[in-house]
């Protein structure tokens, strides 16, 4: 909800409100956070910070929030708040994490700064870490694989969008012992332009990006680190930038060492996801949208996951589609915060999408 007025948490009140601020509010994921928090029954937006847009209306950057009355404030004027969502570029949160906890009880970071377990991983995959003492404290935000540890967590690390799509697609195969980690896994992810952020750049300009199917990070993508951390095995991972705005669509080619039936696959995927509020199975059902695709989840917190068996090649092909800014970022963050704070898991995230709709 949006009031613009500072309030405090009153846990004895059934109409409890929890104040929340967004650091880095002008970016795409910052805007999605604000959109979700504005519609949330419990969170109340206190501040949205922006160095470049301080004083301007939030609606001027994020049209869905026109008329909200919110204005960006300078990061230096950050006030005490219950929950701080940080949507800053990689490296900022690890530098400012002490200051964040000075003003907030709970920090939900959407960057890569607290996703990995160890300083050594940051040395290998990023540019090191300046606050490694927080890594053990941080909990990965993806509830489908870390729900139990999120309850009561005060530092939540949002997952990477491509990693989220990949992990959700492959996780049931490991959880149900269809794969044991010794197999070759090949993953290709098609991503939309919003993954590059609001800052733009030459490669993101419309004439250069329109119509593309452009390989980027063909090897060594940083999200491999998260995938390996949570699946326990390495993956051969490549991304393509394609001509859509929202969406990450992962296709994984898997070659199990033993025989696998369609029933085995359904048992694995149903076992993991049948009761999950934000994972839907789409594996060759009926209609036009038989397998996951980003268009069917655009704007929502859903992950659509599906698979098909290829007996002649002894292959399983797995599909997973998310909205990179929702299930892959802001939606995942709000979902995790709901769990951490003991709120209804689905609160503020019920939007089911639009159909028909144009390119996501």
């Amino acid at each position: 909800m949006v009031t613009g007025a500072q309030t405090t948490t009153d846990e004895s009140d059934s109409s409890e409100t929890i104040t929340a601020s967004v650091v880095g509010g002008t970016g795409f994921t910052g805007g999605e956070l604000l959109r979700l928090l504005a519609g949330h029954p419990t969170f109340e937006i206190q501040q949205a910070t922006s160095r470049s847009a301080a004083g301007k209306s939030v609606g001027s950057k994020h049209p869905p929030l026109r008329g909200s009355g919110l204005r960006f404030t300078d990061p230096g004027d950050l006030e005490s708040v219950d929950v701080l969502f940080t949507a800053t570029p990689h490296g900022v949160s690890m530098e400012q994490i002490d200051a964040f906890f000075d003003v907030a009880d709970t920090v939900v970071d959407l960057s890569a700064d607290f996703r990995l377990d160890t300083e050594a991983q940051y040395d290998e995959w990023y540019d090191g870490h300046t606050a490694p003492e927080y890594l053990e404290r941080a909990e990965y935000a993806l509830p489908e694989i870390n729900r139990d540890n999120l309850a009561g967590a005060d530092l939540i690390a949002g997952g990477g969008c491509n990693a989220t799509a990949t992990i959700l697609g492959l996780y049931p195969l490991f959880e149900h012992d269809i794969l044991d980690g010794g197999e070759q896994l090949v993953v290709d992810v098609k991503v939309g332009s919003s993954e590059g952020g609001a800052g733009g750049g030459e490669a993101s300009s419309h004439p250069e990006r329109s119509g593309i199917v452009r390989p980027y990070a063909p090897t060594g993508h940083r999200h491999e680190a998260e995938i390996e951390q949570f699946l326990g095995t390495s993956v051969a991972f490549t991304c393509h930038a394609v001509d859509m705005i929202r969406g990450a669509s992962a296709t994984a080619h898997v070659f199990p060492s033993g025989p696998v039936s369609k029933g085995d696959l359904w048992a694995a995927y149903r076992g993991c996801y049948e009761d999950e509020p934000f994972v839907r199975l789409a594996a060759g059902g009926s209609g036009v949208y038989r397998y996951p695709e980003p268009k069917a989840v655009a704007g929502t917190n859903y992950a659509d996951v599906g698979f098909e068996l290829d007996p002649s090649n002894k292959r399983i092909v797995v599909f997973s589609a998310i909205d990179n800014m929702m299930k892959g970022s802001a939606g995942q963050a709000v979902h995790a915060a709901n769990i951490a704070l003991g709120l209804e898991e689905t609160a503020g995230l019920e939007f089911a999408g639009l159909h028909p709709v144009g390119a996501p």
Binding site: K262, G263, W266, A267, R270, E274, L281, A282, A283, G284, G285, S286, G287, R290
Partner: protein
């Protein structure tokens, strides 16, 4: 309880089921044809195949 022949999930079928009727599974989305009603027997309903690019 009847199970989906595609994914194995429990299906909730209405009382006045008729042979030849098409029902769908809310778990996997498969369309299923009712072959018999007492007890219910279901088979995967044929789908129109896409031939884009062929």
């Amino acid at each position: 309880m009847t199970q989906c022949v595609e994914c194995g999930a429990d299906l909730s079928l209405h009382d006045d089921l008729e042979a030849g009727e098409i029902v769908d599974c809310t778990t996997c989305g498969a369309e299923l044809e009712v072959i018999d009603t007492e007890p219910p027997v279901l088979e995967r309903a044929p789908e129109l195949e896409e031939d884009w690019g062929e």
